[in-house]
Symmetry: C2
Subunit: 242 residues, 2 copies
DNA sequence: GCAAGGAGAATGTGATCACGATTACCGGGC
DNA sequence: GCCCGGTAATCGTGATCACATTCTCCTTGC
């Protein structure tokens, strides 16, 4: 195989320069660029191996090269973007061993975050109910995405579900680490869903919600672990061919 | 307390521009700057709250502002550096809850890396012996540092020990995550050692080496977990006062 | 003696240019 | 038809400038 990487194409997330929104000065341009690019990656809108460049990104976001450079630099540091030996930039590729390592990291970390979310809402059941309501709503959105076969919406709803749960753990440092893992996984999750079809995806979301409602930490942990294992095994099967 | 942060002082690691080492052209300036700054942080050479600035860093490394900016951007992304609301940069501070979260992350991840190192050398005992020899050597260096009361050497030897072990796991993605954790912990480890004195530090390094030699995964995992718990509990006690 | 205020220094950020290396593209030769 | 080679476009990187904001520190007024 050539191992070359894809030509530049317009970024799907590249919204217009939003001149309509008035004079609301941007809260530091490069933060905005970074946030949108990060979101696009986690949600799987960018395929692995997809090429990026400072100037291209800059023009797609209608900013100068500087903010684009900084956003790219950050995402390379987090492992979401990859640099070739000749310093070209692309969405990170996946390898079977990387899938294995990331699974190793996700299992204990996300299980811990889930249990922490349970613990954090133990003293405040109203909070827990609100969390459950939020998760249920996201999960319904996810089901609708499956029905419609909308891969993009599915991918986004899936990450939304996990992070809504983890956010309730109130553990920003841990959350940051996990977010870094998702930044590396997002693109493949999407590829896998696209290839297998959203309807073939199974998850343990309803089990997780039940465990949360029952206050059963062990059950919740199992649901999360199983959810991760199922998803990652699918990625693993496909990772050799991406 | 004022919560202001320390004035700029020369960076301890700021070696001369090394014009002596021949014409060996730098492999991209900002990589070099980043690597040295990262090393200085992990080894605990920079105190929490210590101020950094683009221009200061640049002049200390005898480079222009550009490579300094990029290095700082990367380390902020990794959580090693912190930005105040007014966008000043400093070595990240520690809080008790952050210690707890980072401990949660370190325990399973580093235990896994250690066990992986054991597994990886199971089929190649020469490799394992070489690893044990390397670790023993580092541990002796660590003992000497304790005798001399050399806090800097102790701090460096300690991180060297862990990463020498983890490197043998041959899991770059996992290692990257753990390195990110150490980037956040390094500065405090140093502060704690300095405050309590290197001689009060205990570790489970010899137990880990024994477990490695015996091929006992369970014992190795316990040694690593205990080593982490001991170290982090010391950081936790002090973290309120940093 | 001390707090308030203002002048000046320092800071992060964005923009732009130059340079050397790398890549992509197109045409000619086999 | 296919491969090779040269040329032009594109790339990451480093440097430097301008600007608004923030911080420092000293003076002034009470």
């Amino acid at each position: 195989m050539k191992r070359g990487f894809a030509r530049h194409r317009p970024l799907p997330a590249a919204a217009p320069p939003q001149s309509a929104r008035g004079k609301r000065r941007a809260p530091v341009v490069h933060e905005e660029v970074y946030a949108r690019l990060k979101r696009a990656i986690i949600d799987g809108q960018l395929a692995p191996g997809r090429a990026l460049s400072v100037r291209t990104l800059a023009s797609q976001f209608s900013v100068s090269a500087m903010p684009a450079r900084e956003s790219i630099r950050r995402l390379v540091a987090l492992g979401a973007l990859e640099m070739t030996p000749t310093r070209r930039i692309m969405i990170a590729r996946m390898t079977p061993s990387k899938v294995e390592e990331l699974t190793d990291a996700r299992l204990p970390l996300e299980a811990r975050l889930a249990v922490r979310a349970l613990e954090r809402t133990a003293a405040n059941l109203r909070k827990r109910e609100a969390l459950i309501a939020r998760l249920s709503k996201i999960d319904m959105r996810l089901d609708r995405a499956i029905e419609r076969g909308d891969v993009g919406a599915y991918s986004k709803a899936n990450s939304d579900f996990h992070f809504a749960l983890y956010a309730a753990a109130e553990a920003p440092a841990l959350l940051g680490v996990v977010e870094g893992l998702w930044l590396q996984i997002g693109p493949f999750m999407r590829v896998v869903i696209e290839r297998l079809g959203a309807s073939t995806m199974v998850d343990q979301h309803k089990e997780a919600i039940d465990a949360l409602a029952a206050g059963d930490a062990k059950k919740l942990e199992n649901a999360i672990r199983l959810d991760i294992l199922e998803g990652m095994s699918k990625i693993g099967e496909a990772s050799g061919k991406v």
